[in-house]
Amino acid sequence: MSYCPNTSGEQQEMLDAIGVKSIADLFETIPQHLRAESFNLPQGMSEFEMLDRMRTVAEKNTKGLLHFIGGGAYDHIIPTAVDHLANRSEFYTAYTPYQPECSQGTLQALFEYQSAICRLTGMEVSNASLYDGGTALAEAALMAIRITGKNRLLVDGSVNPFHRRVMATYLANLDVDIITILPADTSADRNAFLAAVDDQCAALILQTPNFFGTIEDLSDLSTLAHSKGALLIASTYPIALGLINTPAAMGADIATGDGQCLGNPLSFGGPAFGFIATIKKYIRNLPGRIIGETVDKENRRGFVLTLQAREQHIKRHKATSNICSNQSLCALRGLIFLSLLGREGLVDLARLNRDKSEYAKELLSGINGVSLQSTGETFNEFVIRLPKPADEIVKRLLSRGIAAGIPLGEYYGGMDNSLLVTVTEKRSRAEIERLAGKIELELNSFQF
């Protein structure tokens, strides 16, 4: 079943107008020996049958798992109005705004998005979005390499390992030297950075709150970076920025991160968006689309894609990045989310996350045999050390409907008993207490 509208009568009229006998004639330009050897797909179905199938897919997942997992994808509230507005079909069925006169809606919204990212991070300029947090980190690294003309990166091991892996993939075939600095406990190891940094460094790459949830003051590291002619790339978590210091205030040259938490559903990992922001002098090194303000012939304000000479459709292989489609609609969701929360709302939301997380921290670290492993102050995630391997506990709790956290052994040597627990504003006190109760129970009944 296709959704092609033309009736066979109309098709015949069109064939006549073209001057061919049949549709097959139009495919004559494809040599016979190149024709498809197989096309084994099922028969089509109506939307009703398709939706039934989709419901079946949904049911094959466990519904209603209690999430105490984050690791870069967060279960936050999404105000209803985000959906209502982003689902305006003039937004989601439009193309990239290459024709500004009939795309001012998207262009102004993305300009406002860029402004929101700047206001959130304290940076001066932002692009109109990247794919996700991991690819944004990679683009930030490439940008630093372009700006400095150097090729060594010092990466804190407490930067999200999923993001670090994406960066490593991006850089694998380039002449770039990635040095991972192992964290000291759950914070960046200042001494190790001091020891490793040199004039060949393009950038120091850190994250705050880091993968362990620890909030870092990066001011000393930006000073260190700048003293060696390197940049500081700070990856961050937008919701935390309701409370914690901005990358700009700590001296970062590039701020980056994942925007899923801003009004985008978990959706099994995508789509959401990555953001990247920098200081004005580096604007021509930004990857991807940028919206700029200008005026029309009557001097009315308008918005337009600008500095396109950085991009692939103009510069081809000399572009700052290959990115073309970005995550516009998700960035729009981010903007709407931030607008609905508003200035005070974001602060309140950040506080609520921290309050819930601190409550959980106290409860969990009070369990017999469990200790708090996070050093420093944390935002909405923290690490506890269990008396037993974390993956076994997680496995058991999962079968009871609780995703209790991310066992860290998989990502960090010597952390087999460590569990990264995430507590967003959506977790109720009762749910937190249930988690604590279940962990205690499992530990008590643990059989090796």
């Binding site: 109005a81 099994f268 929360l341 200035r343």
Partner: protein, 480 residues
């Protein structure tokens, strides 16, 4: 319209948060705190709703306007696909990464697996990764695979060949992976110049990136020869399948001899463009390249359940946070389910019919540099109109005044004053006929009243913008 920041009033609140049921934590140390809260808008929900609703109305979109934008496949996607994808919104991507977690995400994993299989069948490839996040990301992933393949073989390859008619992302993606680019011009017959290609091809060629039908909408009859020649020097052949709309059920790049392909789900497969994204760019490969696919891969176990394969030493690694743009893939999967074998074939047939119909109706009015049967799109030139100092852009802007999104103009770069029209299969003859009428009017107007075209558009909230000023002043952020 005012910016949202210009409507902000200190102290006004939008959405309220849930009340807290836990004690207030000790405050964060001052040194870790931001000094001033982020100056985000302070507005009521009503004012925010009005702002974005009004903004939306300043866009053209497929749901409101015909959008014959070449190379972009602005087809209509049935609304059921949006509803379908929303059913899968609540699932957490970390769940299957937990010990024992795969069992709790069988629906999502199974869907990804099945989508990969369907795309493999559609393209004639052996295996597909759904991780890449857009077309260009797919291209880069493909080039990473190419690089990994050559590395595994110990061959040192330096060059990637692309025709000059290729999409800008092709050379850009190859460059991201460290390759040098060799660009081959288009011959007068509309395809990559075969002789120049042969001359450029050598042992250091890592890959050839082809688009077929190319961006002129033409199917290259020498495509197999090109694949064979490349293979002779152990160069891999990459198929830019951003737009499969012309060939489904007709040709499979895998059968022709291509080694790697990416597909833009947001063009052919049921996902609207979202004002520029999100997309999804799955990559298909032939058997010998399977070991290099990004990790983690989703595999089917002997028992029929779905598992995540983390260990794969030859893999290019992870290219996205998690499993790619899952929500986009859900629409693509649903689309393939709904259309099925016959439906997809019909899509290509009707897309080609519509394009040829427009081409046949407008070739008296506009220069047609390559006058051959086209596939899903056709490329005119405004060269005749240039005689009256009317450019492709002027025709584009006139169309806006008439309620049409303009075709792609000035691309492909190899056609002077290019006007690239892709009607897609979802448009009815009535719509095409109206569009043809307006295009003819524009051609006439170019002779009788060229100034009107040069002044267009006049019906939009703004007229043509000063793009130089934008680039010069770089106002990309609303000052606080």
């Amino acid at each position: 319209m005012q910016l949202i920041y210009e409507q902000s009033v200190a102290g006004r609140r939008g959405v309220r948060l849930p009340s807290s049921d836990v004690p207030v934590a000790t405050p964060l140390s001052a040194s870790l705190c931001r000094i001033e809260s982020a100056p985000l808008p302070e507005m009521s929900e009503l004012d925010i709703v009005r702002h974005f609703t009004r903004l939306s109305r300043r866009n053209f979109s497929v749901d409101t306007n015909f959008y014959p934008l070449g190379s972009c496949t602005m087809k209509y996607n049935v609304k059921a696909l949006e509803t379908a994808a929303a059913l899968l919104a609540p699932f957490h991507p970390v769940t299957p990464l937990l010990p024992g977690g795969e069992a709790h995400a069988q629906g999502c994993l199974g869907m990804l697996y099945d989508l990969g299989k369907s795309l493999a069948e559609i393209t004639g490839m052996d295996e597909v990764t759904t991780q890449p996040l857009a077309g260009a990301h797919g291209e880069m992933t493909g080039m990473l695979i190419v690089a990994a393949y050559h590395k595994a073989k110990g061959s040192k390859k330096k060059y990637v060949i692309v025709p000059d008619s290729s999409h800008g992302t092709n050379p850009a993606s190859a460059a991201m992976v460290g390759y040098e680019i060799i660009t081959i011009p288009t011959a007068p017959y509309g395809d990559m110049d075969l002789e120049l290609f042969k001359a450029a091809l050598n042992d250091e060629t890592a890959a050839v990136m082809m688009t077929c039908p190319n961006t002129l909408g033409l199917f290259n009859p020498h495509i197999k020869e090109i694949c064979d020649l490349a293979h002779e020097v152990d160069a891999l052949v990459y198929y830019d399948g951003a737009n499969l709309n012309a060939i489904m059920g007709k040709v499979r790049p895998g059968d022709v001899g291509f080694d790697v392909i990416h597909v833009n789900l947001h063009k052919t497969f049921g996902t609207p463009h979202g004002s520029g994204g999100p997309g999804s760019g799955p990559v298909g490969v032939k058997k010998e390249l399977v070991p290099f696919l990004p990790a983690p891969r989703i595999v089917k176990t002997a028992k029929g359940s779905f598992a995540i394969e983390f260990e794969n030493p030859q893999s290019v690694g992870r290219t996205a946070n998690f499993f790619g743009n899952f929500g986009v893939m859900a629409k693509a999967w649903a689309y393939i389910l709904m259309l099925g074998k016959e439906g997809l074939t019909e899509v290509s047939e009707q897309a080609v019919l519509n394009a040829n119909y427009i081409m046949s109706q407008l070739k008296n009015d506009y220069e047609l540099p390559y006058d051959q049967t086209c596939m899903h799109e056709c490329v005119f030139s405004a060269s005749r109109q240039l005689e009256n100092d009317v450019h492709a852009i002027d025709i584009a802007k006139y169309l806006i005044d008439k309620g049409y999104h303009p075709p792609t103009v000035y691309f492909p770069l190899i056609v002077k004053e290019a006007i690239m029209i892709e009607p897609t299969e979802t448009e009815s003859k009535a719509t095409l006929d109206e569009f043809i009428k307006v295009m003819k009017e524009a051609a006439l107007m170019a002779k009788t009243n060229p100034e009107l075209l040069r002044q267009a558009p006049v019906t939009m909230p703004i007229s043509r913008l000063d793009e130089t000023k934008a680039a010069r002043e770089q106002n990309v952020c609303c000052p606080v």
